[in-house]
Symmetry: C2
Subunit: 332 residues, 2 copies
């Protein structure tokens, strides 16, 4: 059973998940190597290599765990957290811990092992986005879960161990400190100015037009003013919605378009870099918050995070966001 352990000073939780050390990578004390030469557990025909599916999209019909799917969701075989059991929050001497309860799912985004997410046909991409939303919404029904994070690790430098297109969804029994801080920060701005910070950012960025990379009627893609890493990108909805899982189907065509532009531009202009993509949504237990809006962060992995960043939370970024936007606006 994984354990959630709390740092006695910062109160940040760490997940100690020793079963993940058993992943079929050349794992010598944690080194990560792509699983070259091993069978691909996400390929059609290999459905038996994953735990039984939770849900799948089968436009032409078919049966659970057959190979007729176009999008497939399975539990992570080496989960960071377990769904079964109670939290059993307890002391351990002077420390605090609880059982590693939570969900850890994998969304396999295409049956084609060479497909790139951003090059999927528009309708297929919309199916994937609907699956993201529906899984987040479904996990919200489990009252032990307080927050979920949908994320995509692309490329081994970003922590990905399998190259076949996939994203992951983790639901947690606690709201992470950083997520609370994000909501609190947006609230602070709202209380001070009586305006929504996301709305103000969109207005200012459109007026200045130095960091806008792309926009459509529903979304804006920007290189954030205080970008932490070179070529960081944010996708912000132009409509008010606190939770990603409450977003209606009507927005998904435009979301697919902006995602496709963002990830396609990184691929084309920076030579297919590794990246992490994060859907920042509000905690499950918060209602509608007029000061907070879900949004997407994309962090290309072009430089290694070093000691200064780890010690301070300050990032040193050698590429100005204005320059990043200039480069990433160009697409054939």
């Amino acid at each position: 059973m994984p354990e959630l352990r709390r740092d006695p000073i910062t109160h940040r939780w760490a997940i100690i998940a020793t079963e993940r050390a058993k992943r079929p990578t050349s794992y010598r004390f944690g080194s990560q190597e792509p699983t070259e030469g091993l069978a691909n557990p996400f390929a059609p025909g290999n459905e038996h290599m994953t735990p039984p599916e939770i849900v799948a999209v089968r436009p032409a019909g078919g049966y659970p765990n057959d190979s007729s799917w176009t999008v497939r969701v399975v539990p992570n075989k080496y989960p960071a957290l377990r769904v079964e059991g109670g939290l059993d929050r307890r002391p351990m001497g002077i420390y605090d811990m609880m059982n590693g309860i939570g969900a850890h799912e994998v969304i396999i985004e295409s049956p084609d092992e060479h497909a790139k997410f951003h090059s999927l046909p528009r309708e297929h991409m919309i199916d994937v986005l609907r699956v993201y939303r529906d899984r987040m919404k479904d996990l919200k029904r489990d009252c032990r879960m307080k927050f979920s994070l949908l994320f995509r690790n692309y490329g081994s430098a970003s922590g990905a161990t399998i190259t076949h297109a996939h994203s992951q969804l983790i639901a947690l029994p606690v709201v992470p400190f950083e997520v609370r801080e994000l909501c609190n920060g947006a609230k602070r701005y709202f209380d001070f100015r009586e305006r929504n910070v996301f709305e103000d950012m969109i207005r200012f960025e459109r007026a200045e037009d130095r960091r806008v990379v792309f926009e459509n009627n529903d979304f804006i893609l920007i290189a954030p003013f205080a970008s932490r890493v070179p070529f960081e990108l944010s996708i912000i909805p132009r409509f008010q919605e606190t939770h990603f899982e409450e977003t209606s189907d009507g927005h998904f065509n435009n979301l697919a378009e902006v995602l496709s532009f963002a990830l396609g531009s990184l691929d084309q202009n920076l030579g297919d870099p590794a990246y992490n993509m994060i859907f920042q949504s509000a905690p499950y237990d918060s209602g509608e918050m007029p000061w907070y809006r879900w949004h997407i962060q994309i962090l290309p992995k072009l430089v290694n995070v070093a000691g200064f960043e780890l010690g301070t939370g300050f990032f040193i970024n050698p590429i100005a966001p204005e320059e990043a936007a200039r480069v990433l606006r160009k697409r054939n």
Copy 2:
């Protein structure tokens, strides 16, 4: 001039330092490669390749910028921050920014380009530690500086671009959010229990003896209970001292011993991994705080930080600290 830019929601600062993109690495949009084939600017005889030295140790005598040094401190040639000028804190539309004022120094720890820090003779290592302390103390005199971080990036995976043994010191005009949180967390514990959290940790860890790796009369080396990454280590002083820069010479022999054990054990037991080492000291502007104690964090870079960690601040660690301690206790 580098810029400090503040995120409008989280209030975290990013340093936009475009001159660092000019470092002589094969820098295509930020990719970091060791500078193989280029002359080593830290080698004796190449003193002209760095800015003029700030201070150096010359046990056998000599002159500034000659090659008779054993430890040498120079300004970083590609600094993240500049020493000259005023902060000029100002708005930029809805955002906040200021000039990137600060110090960025490099401590070259040995003239031998193949020397490993942890294998330096004890007296030499003590000289290095004294230089760390004295530089931090000297920068404290500049009243624009609020905090400094001493850190060591070892190996290219940790962000190091030069292999010759060195550490870095950055002084900042603001106290980073994470540093304030660390002090606040220790204060919260002190207020609740009327005891110092570091003292309690030392007592509990010694009694349990499952995560202690090494100790001497002045320091304890542990695998922290809520370790974020595999084989994370903490060095905690067994005496009360808020600021590293106020630590007296009498402790440096034991500090050299525990550092040498910790880094030597990583080298020997994990096959010379990359790591980041951070000296967490209190802000310059805080006085003595009976609840806070400087300490050292060592984070081996065996796995890549992925989207989940970036989105939540939660770390997933596949190696239990108890197992890490068992492995790292062994030294020939």
